[in-house]
Point group: C2
Chain length 502, copies 2
């Protein structure tokens, strides 16, 4: 039997899944690595450490020599930036999406018309995660390094390069750079000029189903692969976790809640949101990935569990406690912006709040309000989609949050939409595998993904609760608006306090 | 030796202290009673239960037959309202300061010019605690009861009446009704008209040092008193806990933090604050008690301990944890309005908030932010005083908060003022005793109270921390202003959610 390896290069770990030719899972492996955050705003990773993790995962899954692995394909974190010298040797770490150091550049871009232009030509909202702003920041802060760099790529491109010797990227990854034109679907010459780089410094762009080539003989032998194992170009995790839940058009919304979260849809036309609430990344000329990336997902639940119950408590404990409180947590509202926020408010200085506290609020209400706040914030992010592509038939849900029936039901109630927990838990790796199936000719069109991506359970909204959450949602947005004015001053205060501590 | 019994009739308990003629404590007793809150906004007490608690306390402290108790004197909760029929029998419970049911009447008074008039003529800020608004509410909601009532008094008047058969009140208690004219220091005929009552329905007013008379023989025998034990009129707890810490003028501010809190000063002239932030209650024609009563004191710490650590934890545990966090709790702000608020924001619909949360904030920061928030709110309340009487030399501190050196130091740092913990823990009962000393001719003037009211410890502000708290305070006020707009909508949401639960 033939096998395909789908690999998801995430921010904290690389996960690989070995699928047989019927898309059945044959094996799983993962390897985690550190996000280096040794100074304020910095969030980088060592590309060598990640490439080594990728090799670990491949080696573990190819161990059984009888496995005939036909292809390796990818789903990867977006927006990373790596500089290579003229010999394609590493000059920098991988500056991840979580790195905020180009914040000042973004602020300037907002004050000039640059941010508008970037959004309008590339679909990239004004945010420090975008490589275009990181390049400008590097040019200002590290001009010598900037000059030395002959090539600018991301982490998936680095891994693919190491395995094949080819510098290539796919449309869905290129789309997340702020340098790729929405309409022409080529590198945008205006943007290259702004970033002061040349087209030849960037990888060649192709479709996610592109076969890059055979894995290099050295790695084939080292990792226990066949000499004709193909490396497929693969896609961004944003795209793959959307098609991986069988969201191929604008009929349904895909929601993924892991450490962070995202809400996405595939639109048949390009979208420019008047308020820049959503990104719009081209896939091809009739498919655009539109959505909102949300910083504050499961990572906030982790925080709340530790802060309210202590690190010894389990998530089970936390959810059991939260379920004790009533719908709406007795009017307690929680804003989850513990790590700034991208969609829906696009404010890296945002911080979190509990608002509406009374003596009636005990630990159970605090715990439930956190979960409700996370979902209300996702609903705010969904409004940018709703306004542009209309109301979906249902939500397709993946990620850690799906482990809890309580949370799935809350999502259905708060969104007031049927919410489907899908079978595929690792939609990114699953979609990567499917892209390889297409590349190898084992599946004809993307629509065939539905044969493998099934639904596990549907949660219908409870009418009475949905009505309550509608009232809460209106007030939730209004109060966020009032809090928003103070995020900058709060961030400055925190800096002043922490400076004086050191 | 002669003895004097100082009795403090509080909201949750009556405490008595037996003093010898040198003001040394000879014995203490207390008896608690329930605040009946069986419906939204209601907070009443049974006058008979309180009178019975007062008798318990007297009986316990007079047990030793050798004690020659010369006088009993009072410090009592303000703003309570009790209706008596023509035979001076109880028609109502005691509607306490915590009862919010006349809120709607207050709102109407704010919309018309009545609230201005009440404040201007009586010094009573617009709040549901004021008997004038309670009378209007009763007239609307319970017209029959209102008609039946021949007398309107408060809880101290009821206790004194039961012990002496005389219906009398003192200036400092009358001042808290909203019916007592600031200038004439007589019942205000305009206000009586507004409340639709007659002067003869109210008790006669005299000075706190007035000897009402001997205790009735029945109670003298029952409670183990002498037949010539005098009942002194006494004063409001607001006044007595101010003079009880030797704050007799506007040189120092008195801060008391128990379940609730208050900041007070004695001004030599009457004060009308442009923003109605402070009450101004006459004592006599050269002394006015000016200050802000604050709902959210120790009761919020109790809540935070239970909500964050659980009801098994002690305050020691809580304070130890809070002390781990750094000055300013890493920029986390807490607004303590868990039970609405009187001074400084005078908004009974206010609710609490944590603002500025990041993942750096763990339980220790939450715990410290609560204490800092309580004190920052007191500082906001103090601004109403500062603007009218100038900066004090120091703060004189009493109440439960003084048990913690950590909290005392925080008060000094946040106020940026020397803060004196006074020796007298029960400043109310102590002042009541002193008023009796004056009545009996054992002390000549109020100034002699300094002979007994000493300082225990002085906390000087830490300059560096004070500077940080000044920055925090500016932002703290600004954000409160933005939150304030939403208190009404939040209160309405809570009502809607709780209605639908029932």
């Amino acid at each position: 039997m033939d096998y395909i390896l789908g690999i998801d290069i995430g921010t904290t770990a690389t996960k690989g899944i070995l699928y047989d030719e019927n898309a059945q899972v044959e094996g799983q492996a993962s390897k985690s690595y550190p996000l280096i955050q040794d100074q304020n705003g910095k969030a980088v990773e060592d590309p060598e450490v990640i490439f080594s993790a990728v090799q670990d995962v491949i080696f573990k899954l190819s161990q059984n020599g009888s496995k005939n692995i036909k292809a390796i394909s990818w789903s990867a974190q977006m927006h990373s930036l790596i500089g290579l010298d003229k010999n394609k040797q590493l000059l920098t770490n991988s500056i991840t999406w979580a790195d905020n150091r180009s914040q000042k550049v973004v602020q300037e871009a907002k004050n000039s018309n640059l941010a508008d232009q970037v959004y309008s030509q590339t679909g990239m909202p004004p945010h420090a995660m975008a490589p275009i702003y990181k390049l400008m920041w590097l040019k200002n802060e590290h001009p010598q390094l900037f000059e030395q760099a002959n090539y600018w790529i991301g982490i998936k491109e680095y891994v693919v390069y190491r395995l094949t010797n080819k510098l290539m990227t796919d449309t869905t990854m290129a789309a997340g750079t702020g340098l790729f034109n929405l309409k022409t679907q080529q590198w945008d010459s205006d943007m290259l000029e702004k970033a002061e780089i040349k087209k030849k410094q960037l990888p060649e762009v192709a479709a996610p189903t592109m076969i890059v080539g055979n894995v290099l003989p050295y790695y084939a032998q080292k990792l226990g692969l066949q000499t004709d194992t193909k490396v497929i170009l693969g896609a961004s995790d944003g795209y793959s976790s959307t098609i991986g839940v069988n969201v191929l058009n604008n009929e349904n919304f895909a929601i993924n809640v892991g450490t962070s979260a995202a809400i996405r849809v595939i639109a048949p036309y390009l979208i420019k949101d008047a308020y820049k609430r959503v990104f719009c990344y081209p896939v091809d000329h009739t498919h655009y990935l539109v959505g909102g990336p949300i910083n504050n997902g499961g990572i906030v639940l982790q925080w709340a569990k530790n802060a309210l119950l202590g690190s010894d408590a389990t998530f089970e404990d936390y959810l059991t406690l939260a379920a004790v409180a009533s719908v709406g947590s007795k009017g307690l509202l929680f804003y989850p912006y513990l790590g700034g926020e991208r969609a829906p408010i696009w404010n890296s200085e945002a911080s979190g709040s509990f608002v509406g506290l009374t003596r009636q609020h005990q630990k159970a209400e605090l715990a439930r309000a956190v979960i409700e706040g996370l979902i209300l914030n996702m609903k705010m992010a969904a409004e940018g989609l709703l306004d542009n592509v209309g109301k979906p038939r249902c939500l397709k849900l993946t990620g850690g949050f799906t482990k809890s029936n309580f949370i799935c039901q809350l999502i259905a109630d708060i969104f007031n939409l049927p919410t489907v927990k899908v079978k595929q838990k690792q939609s990114g790796a699953f979609a990567a595998m499917f892209l390889a199936r297409q590349a190898l000719g084992k599946s004809e069109t993307l629509n065939d993904i539905k044969d493998f991506a099934g639904d596990e359970k549907i949660y219908f909204p409870n009418e009475i609760n949905a009505l309550k959450y509608q009232k809460i949602f209106t007030l939730y947005k209004q109060i966020e608006h009032d809090l928003e004015k103070n995020y900058h001053a709060l961030a400055r205060l925190k800096n002043e306090l922490s400076d004086s501590i050191q």
